[in-house]
Symmetry: C2
Subunit: 530 residues, 2 copies
């Protein structure tokens, strides 16, 4: 029988260890692991998971900040042929529950801080067979059962347990996205998809002006529950890069980490970059030639300029939860390379050029490519080796996503003669604040439950800090403060997240409607344009 | 039906074109193509191949120097689901015929200069259905039929021809290697293997001291018949790098090309680097910070030093024809990165560390890993997503190659604590001169046919310029000049290549034999050690 090499996640870890055994993973300044030692820990965790009963295909959820435990789970869970569910901890309690139930999670790795929000609802989690709890303080909460203690599991040797053979088309990860307006949709990725995304994105980042190489120290500031932190952990460890985990985001501390550990490449949404460049301590890291990959929203020129004054070169990237995520990066191609520095900057702010293996088109509604005139708007459709093949248990959504065998991003863009695309609008009505989608349908539903509200609609208003902030329009007799108070109650009940609460509530007489009778949000957006 | 992304060679070309449409391919200073135009030419050639009858699985041979025609065939042949056979033009006529017959070639793309050696033997090529001849002088030789003229084929539009759907596991390329002592063995690679090799090797080359990026201009000086020119053409075009094709190797001209087109990265065997650094014109390109990837034989320290004086940073790479080829590169990992420049150099001369996705072990004869003590010698065995699964029509060879589901390289190495391997010897008896294996069995057979030779054996003698040169030992009454004359006749008859003729013929009384009665070549090698 012929040997077949499977593109599986264990190979990523092995590659990092064999080429760079002494490379370092630093956890928020508190702990350091060499790749060699980290790999041993991952193997122990994998065997521990088997020892407590985790089986092929079981969904194992992680509820955590960006910690070494999360990173261990990134590898260990797929390595036992289970499926890593990276739970969005910024969801309200209700949606956390909804996604865990929908994913059919069986085991959960959870940091002590998150235990209380899970314990409130213990009976509802009847489907969970084991809670693996960890704490950095040594105080393990006792309210969940059956309970395992992470550090205890990591003490054993499991010498009689062997890791399973993996196939590249086995599922490795799943998570939920509120990419559209409705309730979260599950996406899922195979081992093969993650391996291919890792090597291709790593290769694309070698280009200017990022020029990622073994000299760099990487710290993604993209939550690890968010599309594999854009794949940076897998990519970095595979290619032996020094890696810093920020833990829970605290921007004073993050700047200290960048300073102390010479972090040279960061990745984040625009609002996080904003929080860094406006932090009073940012001078500490000025003038070091840090490179920032900015995605999850357009990179505003003002922000890029502010970063540049601090010696931070920011470039755009683009992708979706559905696309694992990287599709494009605004690196310099031959034409841009030859331009003066001031011209190049314009291209860094564009959405970018496709990374290797991505097939990207901007098409009209008959699926014809639009001309490369930087004017004609079309939808971005893509093919790549790392796109979710389905929305979990959602046939209709899947069919819409993949109509005509191209993945429809719902993003509207123009293309220039140099091959760069620039997103000009989203087809969908979602509001994106601080890189997180706010599901407007869920929010509108919450607003509608306030007495005195007849009709309502939420749209995004451009915001320097957050990219967009929600604004609610409504008809009826309710006062803005009443609605706000109502929504705070819903936050406390775990129904919505606090950052979803609209900045403004605007009472109007009547909504303009589209031909199909829906509220015309374009009109509303026009009304609040600055 | 779910859309499945196939890892096929057309995607490499599309990636280069979509991210970098105006990038340039320069053919030896004579012609230039943008990626966009090159892609159109490839599509035309592909359709032309279909128009003359090329079908899925047909072997299409190319006999050429490193030209734009070759590069077009690299893409176009696999894109019609045919198999590109890159014929070794340094083989004697007999072996060229042998490999084309063994591969069952059906079509041949051939440069005018090579037509005469094929025409001698026309009837023997009964299996060839079409010869596609091209000439840069416009003088198309008429001695082969059925004959097509390349430039004529490229003039048509073929608007009614569609390219086939490709599967990633379809064969894309095949070629022959004299890696061992015997007659050439065929290896073969699928689309998937070549795509994965391209992205992984590109990623590995991003590391120091090569640090390959979009700024670089690449000119491989590895013949295109030789393991896909180490995969550099596929890798470079996929990632949008500027690419220079040297044509037929002429070192004065090559230095001019480096000078004129600012070539910054070259790749070659040690003897080619030797020819460059000793060329009287090399001063033209001194001090430019050129980077050289050196493989196909150990990189001697003296040569690396000579290169360094010219500002050329040379690093080792390692691979086999069987491995597509790259397995390791001597880039700097975390430990080496921290060393002073003088220390780093030692590591650049080692065989290297595995590139992403390569699993490489140094094992004893019970398949246990040897300790990383830089002393214990073991055989290098590998797994990677780009290894030939078979020797063509050679079950026994395939089984030996893949025993225990690891590919056995036959190369003996030690490993250090930093993860770097260093090859110390080859298990096999082959002689390697100027990066080309000389099949000693074939050569010994030729020598034995000289009257007055009783027994004979050929071994390699270390050589500053060529790496190794063959030396023949023999018993009997023949005089060295008689044997040399006999071999020259065999060169003229196309039985052996001229560069195979041993530098010395040493007459001895008797051969030392091994326990199994074979000539003990170790003893002979000792005798000629300098």
């Amino acid at each position: 029988m012929e040997y077949k090499y499977e593109l599986t996640i264990d190979k990523l870890l092995q590659s990092g260890v064999s080429s760079n055994p002494d490379q370092i993973i630093n956890y928020t300044g508190k702990r350091e692991f060499t790749f060699k030692d980290f790999s041993k820990r991952v193997n122990t965790l994998a065997k521990a998971l088997i020892s407590i009963g985790v089986k092929k295909g079981d969904r194992v959820a992680v509820i955590d900040w960006d910690t070494y435990v999360y990173l261990e789970a990134y590898f260990a869970v797929p390595m036992v042929d289970a499926v890593l569910h990276t739970v969005n901890v910024r969801y309200p309690q209700d949606l956390i529950y909804y996604t865990m139930d929908h994913a059919e999670d069986k085991y959960v790795i959870v940091r002590d801080e998150f235990v209380p929000i899970l314990s409130k609802n213990r009976e509802a989690f009847y489907f969970i067979k084991g809670w693996i709890v960890y704490s950095e303080t040594g105080q393990i909460p006792d309210s969940l059962s059956p309970k395992y203690v992470y550090d205890d599991l990591m003490k054993e040797s499991y010498s009689d347990i062997e890791l399973p053979q993996l196939s590249e088309n086995d599922l490795a990860t799943t998570f939920y996205t509120s990419g559209t307006t409705g309730i979260p949709k599950g996406v899922q990725f195979t081992h093969r998809q993650i391996v291919l995304h890792s090597i291709s994105s790593g290769l694309a980042l070698a280009d200017d002006p990022i020029n990622l190489t073994s000299r760099d120290v990487i710290m993604p500031l993209v939550p690890m529950f968010h599309v594999h932190a854009w794949g940076v952990p897998y990519m970095s460890i595979m290619s032996g890069r020094r890696y810093v985990l920020p833990g829970r985001y605290d921007f004073d501390h993050i700047i200290d980490l960048i300073d102390k550990y010479n972090v040279s490449v960061i990745a984040m949404v625009p609002s996080i970059l904003y929080l860094i460049v406006t932090n009073p301590n940012v001078k500490k890291i000025a003038g070091r030639g840090i490179k920032a990959i900015v995605g999850g929203g357009a990179l505003p020129e003002g922000l890029a300029n502010a970063a540049e004054k601090l010696g931070i070169t920011a470039i755009s990237g683009y992708g979706l939860s559905e696309t694992a995520p990287i599709l494009t990066l605004a690196t310099y191609n031959e034409r841009v390379k030859a331009m003066p520095e001031s011209e190049k900057k314009k291209f860094r702010l564009k959405t970018g050029i496709p990374i290797p293996l991505v097939q990207l088109r901007v098409v009209d509604d008959k699926m014809n490519d639009v001309p490369k005139d930087e004017k004609t708007i079309g939808e971005i459709v893509v093919r790549a080796p790392w796109l979710t093949s389905v929305y979990v248990k959602n046939k209709e959504g899947t069919e819409a996503l993949w109509r005509g065998d191209w993945m429809h991003t719902g993003d509207l863009a123009v293309m220039d003669e140099y091959g760069y695309i620039r997103i000009v609008d989203r087809e969908k009505d979602a509001v994106k604040s601080g890189g997180e989608f706010i599901p407007s349908l869920v929010l509108e539903d919450a607003i509608s439950s306030c007495s005195g509200v007849v009709e309502n609609a939420v749209v995004g208003r451009p915001d320097e800090k957050w990219g967009e902030r929600p604004v609610a329009f409504y008809t009826g007799t309710a006062k803005p403060d009443e609605i706000r108070k109502h929504l705070i109650e819903m936050v406390n009940a775990g129904r919505i997240a606090k950052f979803w609460i609209p900045d403004d509530f605007i009472n109007i007489k009547e909504f303009a409607k589209t031909s199909t009778g829906k509220i015309d949000k374009k009109v509303l957006r026009e009304m609040i344009k600055k």
